[in-house]
């Protein structure tokens, strides 16, 4: 049923012939080679692949934190390559919510201030910032910790705060680079349940990177990267068994 809806809408992400090279002392290293993909609204995609295959590089480009060496990237129909620095900041603020493996909360700020931070850069007045930040903290189940500092709560709770922060500006797209990489299995499942709910109930498009098949199992579509190329793109159920992961 969602399939028909997705096909008629404009893609959130469209990527063609994307290349990325890192220039190091030893010369330039190609990391992404001719990557092309399309993400429709409401999709839930897991990206897998061996270490060093270019997953983080790809996510950083998707999140407008880094730029590709060449190729086209249309975000919401807009060509990211032609956007100014301020316009990119606006996209990161309004369209994308980024969730990191290491949480990346501001250690000196309270949880509600952390969650409210993106709203400062949207020019929203303080009273509304606090209301919305607390709504989001409630949503991730941390309403009672609003005045705590990040170092006073567990890793799983910190990742929930980071997700609340990513959600506070009501983005279309959540990008998460190994969001459960620092968490135990149980906590990971809780975080994934949260992502699933956001995707199914709020219709937010989610792209996440993971090394674990049972995390990827929450997604509907799987993209497998190997050595900078997409080697698989299809339904999660059709994914190769986990033991092939290490050999590819």
């Amino acid at each position: 049923m969602p399939e028909a809806h997705e096909m008629s809408a404009n893609p959130v992400i469209r990527i063609e012939r994307l290349y990325k090279e890192y220039v190091t002392d030893a010369g330039s290293v190609p990391v992404l080679k001719d990557v092309a993909t399309t993400v429709m609204p409401g999709e839930f995609i897991a990206i897998m692949g061996p270490s060093g295959s270019g997953k983080s590089t790809f996510m950083n480009i998707l999140g407008c934190l880094d730029v590709a060496t060449s190729g086209t990237y249309l975000l919401n129909g807009r060509d990211v390559n032609t956007q100014s620095g301020d316009e990119l900041a606006h996209l990161r603020n309004q369209v994308i919510g980024f969730v990191f493996q290491g949480f990346n909360l501001l250690p000196r700020a309270s949880l509600e201030d952390n969650v409210a931070l993106p709203l400062i850069y949207s020019g929203i007045p303080r009273a509304e910032r606090m209301v919305r930040a607390n709504e989001m903290l409630e949503k991730v189940g941390l309403g009672s910790y609003r005045r705590s500092r990040p170092n006073q709560i567990s890793g799983g709770q910190q990742q929930r705060v980071a997700i609340a922060r990513a959600l506070v500006n009501r983005p279309k797209l959540i990008l998460a680079d190994e969001p459960t990489g620092n968490l135990d299995t149980h906590t990971s499942q809780e975080i994934m349940a949260l992502f699933t709910e956001l995707n199914e109930r709020d219709g937010i498009t989610i792209v996440l990177v993971t090394h674990e098949s049972d995390i990827a199992a929450h997604a509907r579509r799987l993209v497998r990267l190997s050595d900078g190329c997409i080697v698989y793109d299809g339904l999660v159920v059709h994914a190769a068994p986990a033991h092939l992961e290490t050999t590819s």
């Binding site: 950083n60 999140g63 407008c64 934190l65 880094d66 620095g85 301020d86 900041a89 606006h90 990161r92 603020n93 309004q94 980024f98 990191f100 990346n104 909360l105 501001l106 000196r108 700020a109 931070l117 993106p118 400062i120 850069y121 949207s122 020019g123 303080r126 910032r129 922060r165 990513a166 500006n169």
Partner: protein, 406 residues
């Protein structure tokens, strides 16, 4: 937005309190030094100007004896060559407003049980005009007092204080070198002269009285110096020239021979002194400004460290939508807050310090609103200027580089 940024800047400063205070200290010392130096410099300048104003305007002093005589430098007035007749002749020159020949000497004054040793000047009533000197009580002596060489005197404020205390001296009789003199009047207060002498420590008597009865002279009718006042500043050089010509003629000095007198333009000398005081004042300010500059560099140094330390934070902020200018503003605000608060404390300490200095040492200080505003504006500018570079450096970071920074 600015409100949120202000409170964030405040938080960031609070997180590193000692460092913030030390950075501020550079600013405090700089501003304090500037205010203090300006106060001292301007105080000295004001004192010089007051002395000049008390001197009288467009003044010449004509001294007997040449500045060099047969290769030997002589002190002014060493050999008496100027006479009352010379003074009279000068007075008749065009553009000369008033002339006062003077014969000073030192004498012991006695009134009742009190005695005081001071300078007694024999002169004409025109002395008061030339020096622009008013009486605070009584009347001046007149030309007829001069003609008949009466024993009358005008006392300066310091003399009155030492001989009479609170008593009214007008009409009383004092003894100068054991002869009785009637006090006709009291001179108004003049304060310090340019060379730092107390102008109020003086007594005026008729020049004839001084010559014949008080000091006596080997050469009848001579005076030590003549003061002359020109009508305006414009005619000063013309008057100087005509006085020179007149006196050479009167003293029968042959062409090519040296003068046996010298004419000095007191007003020009005073202006030089005023300029010197101004240059001193500016130099003090300039020296103090260096410490302000050092304070500014301190801010830059700390801000650079702060930007490096908080690179990851900058990355996080950029990842969630901070623009370059938001980051710029955030760091600039911190620099501004540090420099403005440092400035305020510096102004308070500087003003307090200047007042304390003047109280403790009696040095003249002058705190003007202009100097406070200048110090404040310069300091704030220095803070912003030196905060700008680190703030800009932070704002130009690429998000991914800032996030990867360890």
């Amino acid at each position: 937005m600015i409100g949120a940024m202000l409170s964030e800047a405040w938080m960031a400063m609070g997180a590193n309190r000692l460092r913030t205070i030390l950075t501020m200290l550079g600013m405090v010392i700089g501003v304090c030094a500037v205010i203090l130096m300006l106060a001292v410099g301007q105080g000295a300048q004001q004192q010089v100007q007051a002395s000049i104003a008390s001197m009288g305007s467009n003044l010449f002093i004509i001294l007997s004896g040449s500045t060099t005589s047969g290769g030997v430098r002589m002190g002014g007035g060493a050999t008496p060559t100027l006479t009352l007749a010379d003074a009279q002749a000068i007075e008749e020159l065009p553009s000369v407003f008033a002339v006062a020949p003077s014969s000073p000497g030192t004498a012991q004054l006695v009134y009742g049980p009190n005695n005081w040793s001071t300078q007694v000047i024999g002169t004409l009533p025109s002395f008061l005009t030339v020096r622009d000197w008013r009486l605070s009580a009584g009347f001046p002596f007149t030309d007829s007092d001069v003609r008949s060489a009466t024993r009358v005197a005008l006392l300066g404020q310091t003399v009155v204080r030492n001989l009479f205390g609170d008593e009214d001296p007008v009409g009383k009789t004092i003894r100068i070198r054991n002869s009785p003199y009637v006090i006709l009047g009291v001179l108004g207060a003049k304060g310090q002269s340019l060379d730092g002498r107390d102008q109020d420590d003086t007594v005026l008597v008729p020049v004839t009285t001084a010559q014949r009865k008080l000091f006596g002279t080997q050469f009848a009718g001579t005076v030590r110096f003549i003061m002359a006042q020109a009508e305006s500043a414009e005619v000063m050089s013309a008057v100087e020239k005509s006085i020179n010509e007149l006196l050479r003629q009167r003293h029968r000095i042959r062409e090519g021979a040296e003068n046996d007198f010298s004419v000095r333009n007191l007003t020009a000398m005073a202006n030089t002194a005023a300029e010197t005081a101004q240059v001193m004042s500016m130099m003090l300010g300039a020296i103090a400004s260096v410490s302000l500059l050092v304070g500014g560099i301190g801010i830059m140094n700390i801000m650079l460290v702060s930007v490096t330390e908080r690179t990851r934070e900058i990355g996080i902020r950029m990842a969630i939508g901070a623009r370059g200018k938001d980051i710029l503003l955030q760091f600039l605000l911190e620099a501004i807050i540090i420099s403005v608060i440092g400035c305020l404390i510096g102004v308070l300490l500087g003003v307090g310090g200047a007042l304390a200095v003047s109280k403790a040492s009696g040095m003249a200080v002058l705190i003007t609103m202009a100097s406070i505003v200048t110090a404040f504006v310069v300091a704030a500018t220095v803070g912003i200027f030196f905060g700008w570079y680190p703030a800009r450096k932070a704002s130009l970071l690429r998000p991914i580089d800032a996030l990867r920074f360890q």
